[in-house]
């Protein structure tokens, strides 16, 4: 199943946020979206996931999702969005409650998602008892439980410390390794984008337009090798040079707002 951003434009009041954004996320592909602060990255993701209606253009799906997918487009949120009154297990089970699955099937999906994210021993724990990294793991487990075709990740690591980010990034690489699941990964962190994405969509300053789509001609496995670091660093510098001036302008604009 492909996800298509088809000439999407959006505006909040008098503020133009997105202008004619188009690209396609092919089945199993990981596309990162980067750009200066306020360029509409998260707004674009909300539109792609059906949580916001664009003023012009549309988010479209092409092809059928996998037969066992219960929620083809599934979000992983920056702030985790966990129900604080539910245990880890109940949080992961929450999106399955209305699906009509038998209790045993639900349990099996929850168990599998908890196992894949290393949370089996924490199933009875409440979110407030967990670290930020573990909370995001619960968010990921909840997303995996519904067997998504495409994960929509809105800066999933930005609220975490650098060590936890590194550990979760390893988890993402592992989860996306087999290509069964695609992802749209919104981030302001170029290193994360380069580490994870097959292609990087660079948005301009507000209103966000597609400035460039940068393919990464390396498998995610190859990117972990030491001799690939030079190439990746060069690519990161290239991306940074694309957005640096606009990032400075955007920061000044935010400070003046």
């Amino acid at each position: 199943m492909d996800l298509i951003a088809d000439h999407i434009s959006h505006r909040f009041g008098a503020l133009d946020v997105l202008d004619n954004v188009s690209f396609t996320v092919r089945s199993g592909e990981v596309v990162a979206i980067v750009g200066p602060s306020g360029c509409g990255k998260s707004t674009l993701l909300s539109i792609l996931g059906g949580l916001l209606q664009p003023r012009a253009g549309a988010a479209e799906l092409r092809g059928a999702p996998p037969a066992d997918s219960l929620n083809p487009l599934t979000f992983v949120f920056q702030d985790f969005a966990l129900l604080p009154w539910c245990t880890v297990e109940a949080n992961v089970e929450f999106p399955l409650l209305h699906t009509g699955l038998a209790v045993t099937d639900r349990r099996a999906l929850v168990d599998d998602a908890l196992r894949r994210t290393g949370l089996t021993d924490f199933r009875g724990t409440y979110p407030k008892q967990l670290s930020g990294g573990m909370r995001q793991r619960v968010g990921i487990a909840r997303a995996l439980a519904v067997k998504p075709a495409i994960l929509l990740m809105d800066e999933p690591l930005s609220a975490l410390d650098s060590q936890t980010r590194e550990l979760l990034m390893e988890d993402f690489v592992r989860l996306l390794a087999d290509g069964a699941m695609g992802a749209v990964y919104v981030t302001h962190n170029l290193e994360e984008a380069i580490r994870l994405a097959d292609r990087i969509v660079v948005l301009s300053r507000r209103p966000g337009r597609v400035r460039e789509v940068v393919p990464i001609a390396m498998t995610r496995g190859e990117r972990g090798a030491i001799d690939a670091r030079g190439k990746l660093l060069a690519l990161q510098n290239e991306l940074w040079s694309l957005i640096r001036e606009e990032a400075i302008d955007a920061e000044r604009e935010v400070q003046h707002a």
Partner: protein, 277 residues
Amino acid sequence: MLDRSTHEDPPPTEAAPDTRQVKFRGAGFVPSAGRRSGWIALLLAIGLWQLAAGAALVNPLFLPPPTAIARAIYQLAISGALWQHLSYSVMRIGLGWMLGTAAGIAVGFAIGLSSLARSVGITFISALFPIPKIALLPLLILWLGIGEEPKIATIALGVFFSTAISVYSGVDSVPRNLIRMAQSFNVPFPIIVRRVIWPGALPSILAGFRITASVALLLVVSAEMIGAEYGIGAFVLQAGNLMQTDQLLAGVVILSLFGLAVGRLINWLETRLLHWR
């Protein structure tokens, strides 16, 4: 390579003459309530009151000693009058509170979830909430007769507005990201209300219960003072008219104990329902 030759950086063995400890500046601003000290203070105050009465420092006609009040409560209890008055008050509070709470929750949720209900409801609530509900009792007597109904309706009205406000404030305070999360999983509206909005609004609803319990107690006493034969409010008024201040204060103590019991019940509910906080 990392230099791992040094494992520690010990302080100098001999302190220089100008060495001094960093002054601790972080004390205070973390008040904690010691349960025992509160009870000790209360008992001390009662003891002082008793001593003052014993030393004839206060006129027992205006302020009877605690022992006289305790004796009055005991006599009321064994004569059965206490239970008769209390049962009327509890019945009125219970019915009025439940009716007002049920209506307040329904209207509060409607205002919290529907644009139409919000547009209409908030205007009405803003206009009617400031009215002292006891002022409506004569009107309610005209409408509903002189039985229990107007008293119960007065309490229900008082409880309704505070409940509706705390419920829609609670619904408003549910983090929007949780609702969007549920929507992103295609969770149907009724399940979002039941599993996200209701538990999210519950802290505010229970805080509202604490307020409405006090409102109900205030209104039942006022209503019973205006027009009732039985009830703690009527009993307190009668005792005042007859200058039976020990009986009057016995009624006040019973009201205080009743309020305390309701507060404990709400604490228990909070512990049970909000254990995740």
